[in-house]
């Protein structure tokens, strides 16, 4: 029977990553000298499981590396070695290293072993294993190649053998499989029936086994009962009849094929698994999801109700239609709508995971960075149980890391500065998550020095983002940090990095249909607030009509919808109309023109303007009519077609028709209203208008 081990790889990777997360979390809790045994045990078990699994599934590089880790942990666990801060640091590095190894293997790439080897040497030094290096496994060699020998085996089980769960009969069968077996049973030890203890073993045996296998195969059969029986194995001298006792010591080492065979039976998935794995996805976003049993139960309940409603409707459908049946039919349909909505909510809940999955990576991050920056930081996590869609969660992690790094790097002061300012020398970074309406809000707060508006303003002027004359409020100045290429760090540290600025953070968050804003008070601290939709699978949409086409505008982007007062419209440049709305100038984008549709209303005062905001910029979309608002399920256009500019996806409306969802920031690019990543045109037009 051959079993394809690759079917277990994904589960192995997933549980290993979970194990590493647990290891990391526990390691961060450890204080050398006051560690408790359960924490060490948990860490040990995680390493142990990864080692066992990787060995079994043939990921030998991981197994070898985990082995030294496990050995050290075992010693600490047994109390034969004290845990030091160095151990914790090394172990934390190993967690990262293992993660990288496993990710590479998961993506079917050859893992880079440089770091693992370096770390292994360090562990081996600690363990004092360096000198001995690799202890060669004593390989049991056959007596002589392909020769046939006869062994005499005396097997006298102790009385208690059955109580170990062993069964002599099966062992004899195993022996018989090795070659020609002659069996003699001795019953002389069996007591009189009146004295016979029924659960004890009184029989003993002598076997003559003629086999080409070597002695180790025989020893293996009796391996488990060595201490529960008297066993002697002697090699009979064949033709000469001399009895030669075979000692347990390994015989002279002879290089034989047998050894190679032994090596070959070890599965080495790292070499050959490429052919065995079904899908060739190389991304590391996991493809499976763990669902709490309560969620599954609630789903089953809802499906149960749905089935009942359906049965009721079927029954009604079979009856003759009367006034009464129409009433109950309507009732049934209302019930069906109710069931469907509940079911939809429950199904969506399956994808929801507590944000602690993201939060959990921050204790480590904060610890590492604060060490590097020599700052004292306390991390507070609030609202860890707040649930969020798995896909959103996977994508929000990186922007959050960036914001937290930013807070540690630029926000929090050094201990000296804090003391001088009369603040607690230990700075605080707080991550807080909560639900608000259909959104999840994530706050990243620090009690540092706050944003330096003077500095930001100077920088913005220097970079030509604003002019000297611009009179901006502090908030407006703070917003400038989200513009491309903006960085206020005096020098570019390796933490904030060059090039990856707040603009990228904002763009990534907006790609998730979310928003990010900052509020700050000098000397008190800053708060970054991220708002995200709970799920990417469903969207609240405003249906609009353009000529005979129906489009959907995400409700979250819409600020207001209005009829255009043409007296407030001015033309800028060749063909851009701008509406003066209160104290703002809103460029008007004609959807029909961008999308090249014929037959739409072109006169401004007969149409409607939907004012939307994206990339911190307001624009007005010209549509023929506003239709209903509804929740829509987002479908991919790219799955079977391709990316369409100005469209983020599609959905299916109640009547079965397909409707396209408008991508606001894509539209802005498509309209040529501004070059990607620049606000120039808008500001310029504003200046022009004010001058005129």
């Amino acid at each position: 029977m051959s079993i394809d081990l690759s079917q277990f790889y994904e589960v192995f990777f997933e549980e290993s990553f979970e194990g590493l997360d647990a290891m990391e979390a526990e390691l961060l809790n450890l204080v050398p000298g006051e560690e408790d045994s359960e924490t060490i045990n948990t860490i040990f078990r995680a390493a142990h499981s990864i080692k066992g699994g990787s060995g079994t599934f043939g990921f030998n590089s991981v197994a070898d590396f985990t082995h030294v880790l496990e050995t050290l942990l075992d010693q600490i666990r047994e109390g034969s070695r004290d845990l030091t801060a160095e151990h914790v640091n090394l172990l934390l590095k190993s967690v990262d290293c293992l993660r990288a190894l496993l990710r590479a293997l998961q993506a079917e790439q050859q893992p880079d072993l440089t770091e693992a080897d370096e770390l292994r040497i360090k562990f081996e030094e600690i363990l004092g294993m360096r000198a001995a290096s690799k202890v060669a496994e004593p390989v049991q060699e056959p007596l002589s190649e392909n020769s046939i020998n006869t062994f005499q085996i005396d097997f006298k089980p102790h009385h208690h053998l059955f109580k170990t769960g062993n069964e002599p009969l099966y062992m004899i069968s195993e022996l018989a499989e090795l070659g020609d077996l002659e069996t003699q049973a001795f019953q002389d030890a069996v007591p009189d029936i009146t004295d016979l203890a029924p659960e004890d073993c009184f029989l003993s045996w002598r076997f003559f086994l003629t086999t080409e296998k070597d002695q180790s195969c025989i020893e293996e059969i009796f391996e488990w009962v060595e201490d529960d029986a008297d066993i002697t194995i002697t090699l009979c001298g064949g033709l000469f009849g001399d009895e030669v006792a075979v000692s347990a010591a390994p015989s002279t080492q002879v290089e034989t094929d047998n050894k190679n065979e032994k090596a070959a039976t070890k599965p080495d998935a790292e070499v050959k698994k490429v052919s065995a794995v079904k899908s060739t996805t190389t991304n590391t976003e996991s493809t499976s999801i763990r669902v709490g049993i309560d969620k599954v139960d609630s789903l089953i309940n809802m499906v149960g109700e749905l089935v009942i409603t359906q049965a009721m409707l079927t029954q009604l459908g079979e009856q003759e239609i009367t006034e009464a049946t129409i009433a109950s039919l309507q009732e049934g349909l209302a019930q069906l709508a109710h069931n469907t909505r509940d079911l939809q909510e429950s199904v969506m809940r399956i994808r929801m995971l507590p944000i602690s999955f993201v939060f959990s990576r921050f204790p480590r991050l904060v610890r590492d960075i604060s060490q590097k920056l020599d700052k004292q930081v306390e991390l507070k996590l609030l609202g860890e149980q707040t649930e969020l869609d798995k896909t959103v969660m996977e994508k929000i992690s990186d922007p959050m890391v960036h914001l937290v790094r930013n807070s540690l790097d630029h926000g929090l002061e050094t201990v000296d500065k804090r003391v001088a300012a009369g603040k607690n020398p230990v700075g605080t970074v707080t991550l807080n998550a909560f639900h608000q309406g259909g959104n999840i809000v994530i706050e990243i707060m620090d009690d540092g020095q706050g944003l330096n508006t003077t500095k930001i303003r100077e920088k913005a002027i220097k970079n030509g983002l604003i002019s000297e004359a611009d009179d901006l409020s502090d908030n407006e100045v703070n917003e400038l940090i989200f513009l491309p290429g903006f960085s206020t760090a005096d020098q570019v540290s390796d933490l904030s990095g060059r090039g990856v600025g707040m603009d990228v953070v904002r763009r990534n968050i907006e790609a998730l249909s979310g928003s990010v804003e900052v509020s700050s008070a000098p000397g008190v601290g800053s708060t970054f607030t991220i708002r995200l939709p709970l799920t990417l699978a469903i969207l609240d949409g405003q249906l609009v009509r353009v000529a005979e086409h129906t489009y959907i505008i995400p409700l979250i982007s819409i600020i207001e919808s209005l009829q255009i007062d043409i007296t407030k419209v001015s033309r800028v440049g060749k063909d851009l109309d701008v509406l003066r709305l209160r104290d703002e100038y809103i460029p008007i984008l004609r959807l029909y023109s961008i999308f090249n549709h014929q037959g739409a209303i072109e006169t401004l005062d007969k149409t409607l303007l939907v004012v939307v905001e994206s990339d911190n910029q307001k624009i007005g979309l010209l549509v023929d009519d506003l239709l209903s608002q509804q929740q829509v399920v987002i479908k991919s256009l790219e799955a079977n077609y391709q990316k369409v500019d100005g469209v983020s996806g599609a959905t299916i409306l109640g009547d079965g028709r397909v409707s396209l969802i408008v991508d606001i920031s894509g539209l802005i690019k498509l309209s040529g209203l501004r070059k990607p990543g620049s606000q120039e045109l808008i500001i310029e037009s504003k200046a022009n208008l004010e001058a005129s």
Binding site: I594, Y641, V647, I652, R657
Partner: protein, 161 residues
Amino acid sequence: MIAAHDDLHNKLNIEQDQDVKQFLTFFMAEEEYGVDILTVQEIRSWEEITVIPNSPDFVKGVINLRGTIVPIVDLRLRFGIPAIEYGPLTVVIVLKVELENASKIMGIVVDAVSDVYSIAEHEAKAVPHLSDSDNAQYVAGLVNVGEKMVALLDLQKTMDI
């Protein structure tokens, strides 16, 4: 299982030859074209469609195929053949196309479906390069079925839009 399968084959009188494939054929501007029947998901009548803005003219738009968004290509326009008004015979053949890095479900609009033929692939002849047509690139080979000639489509090229 295997026996039943063989039976079925015998009943359909299909040669056991590995080389033989079944092709669904359809008409377009009096010409007959064929696609491997295994790629055909279903045949539908023409229905109302959602236009995709700024797409090439031969992409008519997208339809909802039981919850999946499927693009529809007018094969006449794709091949540069003058369009005709869609009529009751106009059909949409929904195909599963294996493109370079993905398999996609796409539909083609054709004048009418014709027949299903068993064709041995080695019977197909290469397409002569006709100077007046760029469409030779979309055709994998030509075969004679009785008196008629059928152009077997190279779906990968045809649907790589």
